[in-house]
């Protein structure tokens, strides 16, 4: 038996632009780039910014006229709109890339093993970077994160459960309040804890008090993220639980929460990422120590943002270098948390 060869036509994509259609655009952009280069060369406008500022309007206008000549005014407007939006998107993403690159470029020279084993007890910020380190700040930040998680995660999740499971008469109002709370400026959270705890109770500045201030910022983040996840749990699951004769709390504890587990972990991590770099509340509540202090309840502590802040304010080359290294460590922590949150979050979507 001979098999007849059937020819399968390659899937055609009539909407895709043919090389013939793309060519003019490429030529136009190239020509406008040359024009821009000529202008920069022969006039007073100089610098990278001049390229950017000239290329956008000249390229856009050239494309506009080409499209108008070829396809009419409506199409030309479409071309302009898409090029403006593209520009907007590029302008948004330049800072992100610039921020990450700058941090790595400026922070890396100050990173050394001794940085992670020493504190600033014997060194001062203006000493050469080889002396001292940020051990105390890392330990402080870990304590702050730990205590804030212990406070905020239960609070945030229970609030989210109230909003999704109980849906009491006040849930719309509480929803509103949670939104408002997520807009409380960090400085106000710090001032509040200062006036409500430090001025009112015998507690003085310490890691624990600072964690209270950070919790105010973290609770709404955790609540909103958990709420989003809990809303995704199908109602069938809840009804199935109740139909099996479970009480509401058993349904929630044994069906809803386990089903949303990875999403809830993501929510907590997002909350941690929110507070890991907060500086303003710490100024009022942490005290800022130079030595390692492993007691979060008594005595002043330090934290990475506080360390960075101190280094920046002193303004000498050495102290600023310390700040950049501190920022690099902080950024790496945030990036790691963010990646974990993404991975856990995407796993939960795959499981459904």
């Amino acid at each position: 038996m001979s098999t007849t060869k059937t020819q399968i036509p390659a899937p055609s994509r009539p909407w895709q632009k043919t090389p013939r259609e793309v060519m003019p655009t490429a030529v136009i952009l190239l020509v406008s780039l040359l024009v821009v280069a000529a202008i920069v060369e022969f006039t007073e406008l100089k610098g990278k910014l001049a390229y950017f500022l000239l290329f956008l309007p000249i390229g856009t206008v050239a494309q506009f006229f080409w499209a108008r000549y070829k396809y009419g005014t409506k199409a030309a407007k479409d071309v302009i709109a898409s090029s403006i939006m593209m520009t907007g998107a590029i302008a948004v993403f330049i800072p992100v890339i610039s921020i990450v690159l700058t941090t790595f470029v400026k922070g890396l020279p100050g990173i050394s093993p001794s940085l992670f084993t020493n504190d600033m007890g014997e060194a001062s910020f203006i000493d050469p970077v080889e002396m001292g380190g940020l051990l105390h700040a890392i330990v402080g930040t870990l304590f702050l994160i730990l205590i804030s998680v212990l406070i905020s995660v239960p609070m945030g999740m229970l609030t989210a459960l109230y909003l999704t499971e109980i849906r009491g008469p006040g849930s719309r109002f509480i929803q509103f309040m949670v939104q408002a709370m997520s807009g409380v400026p960090s400085v106000v959270a710090g001032l509040f804890i200062f006036s409500a705890v430090i001025l009112t109770t015998p507690l003085d500045t310490s890691g624990f008090v600072a964690s209270l201030a950070l919790s105010i910022l973290m609770i709404p983040t955790v609540t909103r993220a958990s709420q989003e996840v809990l809303l995704l749990i199908p109602n069938d699951l809840r009804e199935a639980g109740l139909a099996m004769g479970a009480t509401q709390w058993r349904t929630v504890a044994m069906i809803v929460v386990p089903a949303a587990k990875s999403g809830l972990i993501t929510a907590s991590i997002l909350g941690v990422a929110r507070i890991a770099g907060e500086t303003a509340p710490l100024i009022f509540t942490l005290g800022g120590a130079d030595k390692l202090n492993t007691n979060p309840v008594y005595g002043i502590q330090s934290a990475l943002p506080f360390y960075i802040w101190t280094g920046f304010r002193l303004g000498t080359p050495e102290s600023v270098q310390r700040s950049w290294s501190g920022i690099l460590v902080l950024l790496v922590i945030v990036l790691v948390l963010f990646t974990i949150a993404r991975l856990v979050g995407s796993n939960s979507k795959g499981a459904k």
Partner: protein
């Protein structure tokens, strides 16, 4: 007869059917509800404590605390405390910096959100959305340091250009050629901080545009821009406004980034390009470390004013966003 008696002994008494929650459920509900009310409690407490601590200041300074352009206190020869504390200049600074941030951030975010929703290829889109989320979780001190060391040199050049060609507009005029650390640059840094907020809210609203309306527009022969202009923007306008208000709320209360970039000078300054200014939050931390007891009260009072401002802005933002989202359904 005996048979029936035996039967009735076998049949259990009918279970009482009730909708009353069990004891365990009542405990569960009480705990969850009381924690749920926590946000209300905390917000009330914040307002109460700050107002209480600032009360002495409000009583002594009166309305001048809001409108006064001076921040000074000293002890005169007779040992009396003379104080003249007002945050008027800083309120002006706050509004100035926030306006710059909004003017820069809103158009960029809207373009970016439209690009992400309607133009970007799927793969690029997911990368860019991740980047936007990442940007939202950057610490504010990172923005501040980046603004000071990286953005400032170029922004200073842009400021000079603006001043050179637009100095006839009073806002772009300067008292002295001092372009570093100006409200303009602080506004740019704030803009990069609020862009992720506005972009993600706008993107969410744009992506909820009813598909049938979009397809109807395409079927009538519209191209992408016409669809955006006639269908998406009218539908999403409220969302954009609400998102911008959320961004404004963030910009009003930002402390560290503004303090890092801006040259904090206590004087009313309307000139965005001139290197002096401040906002309420940065004013609080710059006077905090060596404040007297009375001054500390005044700073807590300033925190109360800031709290009220952001609360109002955020409430209206929520209101507008919620209306925008429910409108389409």
């Amino acid at each position: 007869m005996t048979l029936l008696e035996n039967r009735s002994a076998d049949i259990p008494a009918p279970r009482e059917i009730t909708t009353k929650p069990r004891f365990s459920d009542r405990v569960f509900r009480t705990i969850v509800t009381s924690v749920g009310a926590l946000s209300v409690t905390i917000l009330t407490l914040i307002g109460l404590f700050l107002a209480l601590r600032g009360f002495a200041t409000f009583r002594e300074e009166g309305l001048g605390f809001i409108t006064g352009f001076e921040w000074q206190q000293y002890t005169d020869d007779g040992g009396n405390r003379v104080s003249n504390l007002g945050i008027g200049a800083m309120l002006i600074g706050t509004i100035l910096v926030s306006i710059v941030a909004l003017v820069v951030a809103v158009p960029l975010s809207v373009f970016c959100a439209l690009y992400l929703t309607f133009y970007a290829p799927t793969k690029i889109k997911s990368i860019l959305v991740t980047l936007i989320d990442l940007m939202a979780s950057f610490p504010s001190i990172l923005f501040g340091m980046w603004g000071y060391f990286v953005l400032m040199p170029s922004a200073e050049y842009w400021a000079k250009l603006l001043n050179k060609y637009l100095a006839w507009i009073p806002v772009f005029d300067v008292k002295a050629p001092l372009f570093e650390r100006s409200p303009f640059i602080a506004g740019l840094v704030l803009a990069t901080m609020i862009i992720p907020i506005i972009t993600s809210v706008s993107r969410e609203v744009f992506s909820q545009t009813p598909l049938d309306r979009i397809q109807a527009a395409y079927a009538l022969g519209a191209n992408k821009w016409s669809v955006i202009k006639t269908v998406v923007l009218p539908f999403g306008a409220n969302g954009v406004v609400g998102g911008s208000m959320l961004g404004l709320g963030r910009a009003l209360g930002e402390t560290v980034a503004v303090y890092t970039v801006l040259n904090i000078v206590y004087a009313p300054n309307f000139q965005v390009l001139f290197g002096a200014g401040g906002n309420v939050a940065s004013h609080i931390i710059s006077y905090w470390s060596d404040a007297t007891e009375y001054e500390t009260g005044a700073l807590l009072g300033a925190g109360f004013v800031l709290f009220l401002m952001t609360l109002i802005v955020n409430f209206s933002a929520d209101f507008i966003v919620n209306r925008a989202v429910t409108k389409g359904k």
